[in-house]
Amino acid sequence: MKKFLNSFAGFLPLGVLWLSPLLAGLLAVLYGALDGEAWLTLFEHPQLWPALAISIGTGTLSLIISALLAFWIVAGLYGGKLWADCSSLMGGFLSLPHLAFAIGLGFLITPSGFIARVIGSIAGWAVPPQWVTTQDPYGLSLVAVLVLKEVPFLIWLISSLLARPDISQTLKGHFRVSQSLGHGGASVWLRVFIPQILPRLKWPLLIVWFYGASVVDVALAIGPTQPPPLSVIIWSDLNNADSAFNARGTAGALFLTAALVGLALVWLVLKRIFLPLIWKFFIRGPSRRRTPTITAGLLLLFFCAVYAMVFVVLCVMSIGTLWPYPNLFPTEVRWTAWQQFVMSPAPLLNSLSLAFASTLAALGLAVFWLETVPEKLDTALLVFAIMAIALPSLLIADGQYLAFLRLGLNGTWPGVFLAHLTPVFAYVFIVLKGPYRAFDPRYRAVSLGLNADNYRFWSVVKLGMMKPALAAAAAVGIGVSIAQYVPTQLIASGRLTTLPIEAVTLASGGSRPLMAVFALMLAVVPALAFLVAARVGRKPL
């Protein structure tokens, strides 16, 4: 009974602050979608099917290319001299929000952008070329942004898997066995490592897939327009003046989610047919192919170059008040945009307060759960956490908007806080769970034996040893909160403005320098958080 009470107490704050807003959102969106008219008009929308095709196409393509590139780079560099640099660089790239990256990359590749100017100044183009780059009809520039952002995410995950002693030990053993059977490095990766790592990445890969197929802010900044991805159509419906459009938007969000979940299930079935075929390939005789060290190194270099160029271009853009084509550098440099940013700090302050509060709350909830609830219940919570991350934020945020309406939470800081906590807690819990549960209980016995009481053991010994994990989880939480666009826009109802809200508004029209300032600030806050976390993680006890 006491055990049950303990578990219940562990569940209570989480239930109130996190689970009920999540479930209320999902129920509200289902209830809101009980509108036959909305579904009729949705299926009459002339762009529905092409837009769905764009969404699923860009999402799927970005998933496949990201996974291929990530494994290519890891296979080429793992165990080599560049590996440590690679994993820490990728961790750094990871902290740059998609939106900031899209804005910077957009200015690199647009027909009057930086790359065109460089080529134009050599080739002597008087007018910008008629390239089809940003907003290309097939969404390839959107795919490019997604790939360039998701590869660091996947490599970061793979490298943290490979850093686990149990896994690295096993892999080392398998490597030796395969080599003595005559397999080269590439063959070992293909036939032995990837089949072992891939199943552990199934949820992250699903998240990458669904994210790419339902993202709103990046698609607004760089995605195709005629037709746009379905997420953009849903988004404009949700923000329309006409309630019939709002209902269609809710139906659309549910439809897109159902389509994605349906496809994921189809994949589960297809996998059963494909896997045996693939297996035949895997058990074929030895292949001497070596790991792609050189191409992987070049790819890493390419990533560094793109991220550096995006960063530099954003910096120059932020002070270039006048920067007409074909000038390589602005003709007029002023700090006006930065001054404006400093003069009206509300977006930054709101972003910071939401990020810190939601991250702190998430850490508290996660630690409380991990301390009071038995490990076997983790899986149940994990299912909800993955739902909170993988389901399109359009769906959850629209549901929370509808649910919060009845509670008067829209347009209030607590409402936006709860909306941020939804994904933030999910990430924090996933990051923290592994290290926390792996804590060796014998340390407790030792501490108690050394006359420390329970609280002292927990606050000094356990939290001390958990510090790197807590710092990493906090950095992830802050990064996730800072990047929230869809929930903030819907729940804040214009009352609170944050960095991504301003960045998207400016990207839809407004000054380029100010847009660059917001993109940079979007990048700076999470980057600082990751730097601090990395320092804390490195410090010895």
Binding site: P46, P111, V132, D242, S243, G494, R495, T505, S508, G509
Partner: protein, 399 residues
């Protein structure tokens, strides 16, 4: 000013209703209202994609704070439709104190709010400064997209579809849709317009409708879809002949007018369009466009309208909101707004009727980038045309 008879009748009947509204300028009432407004916070929900506009609203906030003790908070929104949705949902949920006190609004959004009784008022004609409004010379101050305002919104500024580009690159600006087709043919890939349902894109399509429809007397009337497809057939013939010569062969369109402006400034396009006739001159003044910039309107006239401010029915600060709306109509605020160096939004006031003291707030003279030969403002078609136009456009060009 080219107006259909029906519009004139509407405007006249709206003007005739004026005496029925709470009596304008009743000094005692107004003083009481100002007293009530003191200390209130007014959440002004206004589109915030442009720095000059944000700066101007910031100035207004300083003024109303100093003069009337009203705190004005600019709630920056990307689209007024967000506010309509929010107010509707708040009212539906029975929330007493709404989140918006003043909204920058017109057209469809106003229609929706008026039809659903989401607006406070009538109040506009009771504002002391309403007497300066040019309701005769600018009938759209009383008729918003063929719908009478009935005092539920107060005019703020004027707008008219205007095109602009670099005079050094364009010798003869195209001053009709037919000339535009020829211009695009001669300069393939260098002309485009934002995709509807973007507001500027829809306005461009309405302009094309005006210039292609055989009987313009249809336009102020509610359109049903059968009638629409017959009437709009020539429009789609026109667009079919234009699109192959546009940017990206008319397969893709920019999302917004701001993007169009940026593409013009970057030299990707030869011309852009705006709904603010003073915007090109404003951009020249701020250094965003070269001195050689020219602005023009189509010879036979272009679509024009008025934008307004309205007070949602669930506002917590209706007194404060009215005080702000009144200040926005003052010659000082209107003159500053019309100043090209500040914002350059044309005034709704009858400047000719102002006393010398009041008129001093308005700058005069021709500057680079201003419209040299102003054309008549064509009234907006009835709002029911808009969804039909947008859907038909999407069906034809959006897939």
């Amino acid at each position: 000013m080219k107006l259909s008879r029906r519009d004139l009748v509407r405007a006249a009947s709206a003007a005739a209703l004026l005496p029925l509204f709470p009596k304008a300028g009743h000094a005692a009432d107004w003083v009481a209202l100002e007293a009530q407004a003191k200390g209130q916070t007014v959440y002004f929900n206004a589109w915030a994609g442009s720095e000059p506009i944000n700066a101007y609203i910031g100035w207004v906030a300083e003024q109303v704070k100093a003069r009337y003790g009203v705190t004005l908070e600019h709630v920056k929104i990307a689209d007024a439709a967000e506010v309509v949705r929010r107010v509707r949902d708040e009212v539906k949920a029975g929330k007493a104190g709404g989140s918006a006190d003043l909204v920058w609004i017109n057209g469809e959004n106003f229609h929706a709010m008026k039809a659903e009784k989401l607006l406070f008022g009538p109040f506009a004609n009771g504002l002391p400064n309403f007497k300066y409004v040019d309701t005769e010379g600018k009938p759209t101050t009383l008729v918003d997209f063929a719908e009478a305002t009935d005092g539920l919104e107060s005019p703020w500024g004027m707008a008219q579809l205007t095109f602009f580009g670099d005079g050094a690159k364009i010798s003869a600006p195209p001053k009709s849709m037919d000339e535009l087709v020829a211009f695009a043919k001669a300069n393939p890939g260098r002309v485009t317009y934002p995709a509807p349902p973007d507001f500027h894109g829809t306005t461009f399509v309405k302009q094309a409708l005006y210039e292609s429809i055989t009987d313009q007397s249809f336009l102020p009337l509610p359109a049903d879809s059968v009638e629409f497809h017959r009437a709009a057939a020539p429009l789609f013939d026109l667009l079919d002949s234009l699109h192959p010569h546009l940017w990206r062969a008319g397969q893709q369109f920019p999302q917004s007018q701001a993007q169009l402006k940026q593409m013009l400034a970057d030299g990707e396009l030869l011309m852009a369009l705006t709904f603010n006739p003073n915007e090109p001159a404003n951009l020249v003044a701020s250094g965003g466009l070269p001195q050689s910039t020219v602005a023009w309107q189509h010879r036979a006239g272009t679509i024009g309208n008025t934008h307004f401010v309205a007070i949602p029915i669930n506002s917590k600060a209706t007194a404060g909101a009215q005080v702000v709306a009144n200040f926005l109509l003052s010659p000082e605020a209107q003159g500053r707004k019309a100043d090209l160096k500040i914002w350059g939004d044309p005034t709704v006031l009858a400047t000719a009727r102002l006393s010398a003291d009041e008129a001093k707030f308005f700058a005069t003279g021709v500057v680079p980038g201003s419209v040299r030969e102003p054309a008549p403002a064509l009234p907006e078609p009835h709002a029911s045309w808009v969804p039909l136009l947008e859907t038909a456009w999407l069906e034809s060009y959006g897939t």
